[in-house]
Structures are given as structure tokens and as C-alpha cells.
Symmetry: C2
Subunit: 333 residues, 2 copies
């Protein structure tokens, strides 16, 4: 199943399912139609449909396995071609996609050794030993997620805009202190994750031992679909990057040093994972401009393609004017 | 004004105001009584009170300056001693405090030079130059905030439990690309912030260049009150730590290298700050066990006292059993 979120005509977020190459399903509308067809009044049908399928994926996923059962019923209803069911279909080209989840917490790991080696070499170093002992991560900003075709804001403090090709693992039922075996069952599915990066400020703040923060927090691309695990071979997802239509790199998910299950298990150690939470794989080898020696410019289009999931496409915006920047302090010693 | 959150008899979160040394005000109940006294039906009075004062501080703060006006009306109503108004009072000793805000994003900075010097010396180094050029930060876990008297969970992966005495700045109206002058007006108030830390895992993961994550994400103490800026001299807040009743350190807020306004302004550069968001000052000099050469044990009680705000008290729980831990990977080179 491919699950996404779109902006409805009234501006609200709505869950969607991929239907075929051309169309998607507005899930709440389909469920309303399904219930009306079974004899419910429109008010009652829409009331239940809205409760089952809120616009927040985090809220929907909190229903646990019953969310997947309810989505499967919607899919069958539409696939059966019942009279009127086509009212719930929407041409994919007309939909405005939102980031497919709205996580409370967003973690991003480093798990592709090739990226770590390439990136640290560019900065004149080598991989720290820690990355072989633990999956290390930082927390991103869950309020600046962008959906398909959204324009990436260019913060005033950077001249080095970059992309990062990652997988995004979306938490379903959640849990705490999970083992890797349990962690797989805690996942809802996988999406495409573009960890946009301001390299100059990122380098500066990572020298300060915390974060990164401003180097990452302005934007993360996500989507277009969350694909459930039954439809994917997690160890063999192809990961291809194109900038302005030109291929820049390709890799495969099986190069991860830490499996998705291990990342989720470690994220859950000593703290609860919540439905809808987002966990990034880290950048695939050669999956960013830093490794390849180039950066993005205003107006550039970045496409991240993952086999079985789709293509996530975003365009880079214009640099914003600077209103303030910190002035240096004098060390007291 | 001192604003907090308590757990109501029905389990829901409720906004509270400090009334006097012994009592606090259940804000929604007081507003319901105020409206009934002015002739509203109970249903209508409670409906409006619930909309004005939801249990989420983030949701309440999204009303902007009108939240403060509404709180002032409640305070006046209770202070005037109207017949029946005492129904909205609750002995502070009987209240169960929640963390006073429920932020979407929680940032924690380093701004006290003395802490940076002491902590890096303990780790055999010295302050990186970056900390004098920029306010550096990482993002914490907003879903593991603890309130007054909550027990701090002890994750299975640590043997080095520590506290950190910080100030917590709570965002009111929010904003983006604020100057320091504008940033002060974007704040709702200040609270006490205990950045509990697992030092062994924190040291390990900071060697990995990201985070910290597991070293911090299991718990953060917050509260008991958010005090509005008109009642505080931000440059002269005393910050005293007691462990099991014994004083360990004291400092003053004026030792910050970056002002609260500068931290908020930098946090807002290129990204929106939202109502209720939480921004930590970083640890005051000598405000953690790491700097003083000791760590906490199960059952220890930590009290952080900030002049004009109050005392935040938490007790350390028992170590949890380990279910899984990552096994090291072999470098390919």
C-alpha cells in the first residue's frame, strides 16, 4: 500500500492512497461513500470517516493495526469499481502533496559508511570510531517538512545549499525499548527523505560539538508516498539522484551498516517512539553534493528516486535577505 | 504572572495560575465561574472557557496577546474574592504539576562560558572557537518532558546520570527571522529546565559528530511555573542547585555570553518559531555534576531553584533492565 497526504479543496490535510499510475484516492471521501452505500446517512458516514482518517498521519497511525485494516477496506471498495466510487479518485497531477507524515519527533542517523568516509575526507578527516560502535543521530525540525514540489526556502545565513538522499522510516504503532525483531513490526513504512543542508553553517556548528541545527532545520523534503514494508525489499532499494534532470549518483539501501530495524530499536531505547515519528537512514554513499564537490543554486530542481517508492522532487528557492546575524564574543581566557 | 499546568481530576491537562503561597487557580474552572456569574449558562460558560484555556499551553499561546488579557481577567476575578470563586482554588501541595509547556520543538543552546570551559576541561579539551562565534544548539525530545516531582527514568544504557541547571525560555506568539529586539516580544516567559544527561553515552555519541541524542532524550525536567518577563530581571536570576538537600552550586543568569533575546533570534533565523516552543539557555557554570566531579544515584533528589520562579524538584528512578544494545561494526577500510 502507498499512503500519502494531500491538501483538500478546503485547505485541510487528507490521507490519500495511490490507486493506479494516473489517479489517487481521497481516503476520507472514499470511506464516506462506502458507508453511504451501506446505508449510512451522509452525516454519519462522514463523521466516522473523519474519525478513522484524520488529516494527521500521526493521529491516524495511533489506531494501530486497525488503520491498515480500514485502509485495505477503502482500497477494495475503490478497486471494485462500485458506482459512485470514482468520486473519490483524483488525478495525481492535480493533487498538492503534503509531507506524508507529521511526526512529533524526527531523528536522523548516519548509517551509510561510504557517505561518512567521503564526507569526513572532504572536511580533512576520517570517520570517528563512534560511528562503528553506535548508530549516531541528531533530531531534525518536524515543523519544516516539505511535500512533493514544494519550494525549498534559502535561509539568509548560507551560501552552500546541498541535498542529501536518504530513506525515511515512518513509525506505526511505536513502542519503547524494542529489540530489532520487534522494531520491524513497529514500522508503518518507508518514504524518501531529502535532508537539505546549509553546508557552511553546518560545518561551523558541528565544530561546536552540538547539532547540527541551523545547517539542517530550515527544510526537509519528504514523500511523495509511504510504502508499506510488504511491498518492498528493504535491503535492495535503488537510490538515484538527479539535479536538473542529470543523474548525479546512485546507490542501494543494502549498503547500510545498521539495519532499519537496528536504527528503530536504538531510537526506542529508554524513550517512547510515537505513531508517525520519522527516522532518517542517513545519506547514501555519494548521495549529496558535498561528496561530489558541487552545491545547488537558486532554481535548481532535485529529484530523489527510490525503487518501489517513487520520485521526490523539490525546487530550490531564492536566497532570503538577512535581518540579523550574531556578532562574535571575546573569550574571557 | 506565573503560569503552569496541572493534571485535573479527570486526568486532563489544565492551565493554572499561581495565586498565593498556598493556593493555585484552576484557570478554566475560574473562567467558567466568572462567565456564569455574568449570566452565562454552565454549558456556554465552560464551552468558552475550554476554548480560551485548552490544556495545551502551545494551543493556548497561539491566541497571542489575547491569552495574557484573558489570564489577567481570571486573576482579577479570583483576587476580588467573588462569592464562589474559591471553587477554582486548589492547594498547591495537592496539585500534580505537568511540564508547563508542550512544545512542538525544543532547542537547547550553550551560552554559559564557564560551563563550556569546565566541561571541555573534564573531557581533556578546551572550548571550540565556534562557541564564541555562534550560539550553538541541538534539539531535544519534546515528548519526554517531566513536571514537578516526576520520577526520572534511568535508561538501561547508562551508568553516569547527571543533571544540568538551565533556564527555559517559552515562546509566545513566535515568529521567523526575528531581530533580538523583536525576539523579546516573542517570548511568553521563563521557566526552570533540568537537562538530565547520561554522560557515558553522551560522550560516546558526541564523538560521532551528531546530537547528543540518547545522552539527553530520555528526560528533561521543566517547571513548576512559567514566569512572565515583566516580573523578572533576566540578567539577575539566581540559579542554585541542591542534591538531596545539599547545595552544590549557584550562579547567575547574567553570565550568559548570548542574551536570551539573541538565542531566540538565532533560533528563528530561516525557520518559524511556534507558540509554546522551548529554548534552553545551556547549563550555568558549575551547574552540573560533570563539572564538579560527581554523578547521581537512584533515589537522589535534585532541586533547581531560580529566584523569582521557584524550585523544580525531581527524583531519580531505578536503572531499567537492558533488552538490546548495538554490536560494533567492522570498518571496511
Amino acid at each position: 500500500m502507498k499512503i500519502g497526504r494531500i491538501r483538500g479543496a478546503d485547505g485541510s490535510a487528507r490521507l490519500a492512497l495511490a490507486h493506479d499510475d494516473r489517479n489517487l484516492v481521497d481516503v476520507r471521501t472514499a470511506e464516506t461513500l462506502r458507508r453511504m452505500r451501506a446505508g449510512a446517512s451522509q452525516d454519519a458516514a462522514d463523521r466516522v470517516a473523519a474519525a478513522l482518517f484524520p488529516g494527521s498521519l500521526a493521529a491516524a497511525a495511533a489506531s494501530g493495526p486497525m488503520l491498515m485494516e480500514a485502509l485495505a477496506e477503502v482500497r477494495e471498495f475503490v478497486a471494485a469499481g462500485a458506482a459512485g466510487a470514482e468520486e473519490a479518485l483524483l488525478p495525481a497531477g492535480e493533487a498538492r502533496f503534503l509531507a506524508p507524515t507529521d511526526p512529533r519527533v524526527m531523528r536522523d542517523f548516519m548509517s551509510f559508511e561510504k557517505h561518512i568516509i567521503n564526507a569526513t575526507r572532504r572536511l580533512g578527516g576520517q570517520p570517528p570510531e563512534t560511528v562503528y560502535r553506535l548508530p549516531v543521530s541528531y533530531k531534525g525540525n518536524p515543523t519544516t517538512l516539505l511535500g512533493q514540489d514544494d519550494v525549498v526556502p534559502w535561509p539568509s545565513y548560507t551560501e552552500r545549499m546541498d541535498y542529501e538522499m536518504e530513506l525515511g522510516f515512518v513509525v506505526g504503532r511505536g513502542g519503547r525499548d524494542l529489540t530489532p525483531e520487534e522494531a520491524v513490526n513497529a514500522l508503518l513504512g518507508v518514504t524518501i527523505f531529502n535532508d537539505f543542508s546549509a553546508r557552511d553553517i553546518q560545518k561551523e556548528e558541528m565544530g561546536g560539538m552540538l547539532g547540527p541545527a541551523k545547517g539542517k532545520d530550515f527544510a526537509t523534503g519528504l514523500g511523495p508516498w509511504i510504502v508499506t514494508l510488504d511491498e518492498l525489499d528493504l535491503a535492495n532499494l535503488s537510490m538515484t539522484v538527479r539535479v536538473n534532470g542529470e543523474e548525479r549518483s546512485n546507490g542501494v539501501s543494502g549498503e547500510m551498516m545498521w539495519s532499519p530495524a537496528e536504527l528503530v530499536a536504538w531510537a526506542s531505547a529508554g524513550e517512547q517512539l510515537h505513531p508517525g515519528d520519522l527516522i532518517g537512514s542517513g545519506t547514501v554513499g555519494e548521495g549529496c553534493g558535498l561528496e561530489l564537490g558541487f552545491f545547488l543554486g537558486p532554481g535548481d530542481t532535485v529529484e530523489l528516486e527510490v525503487g518501489g517508492i517513487g520520485v521526490l522532487r523539490n525546487t530550490i528557492g531564492q536566497p532570503e535577505p538577512r535581518r540579523w546575524y550574531p556578532s562574535p564574543r571575546q573569550p574571557s581566557l
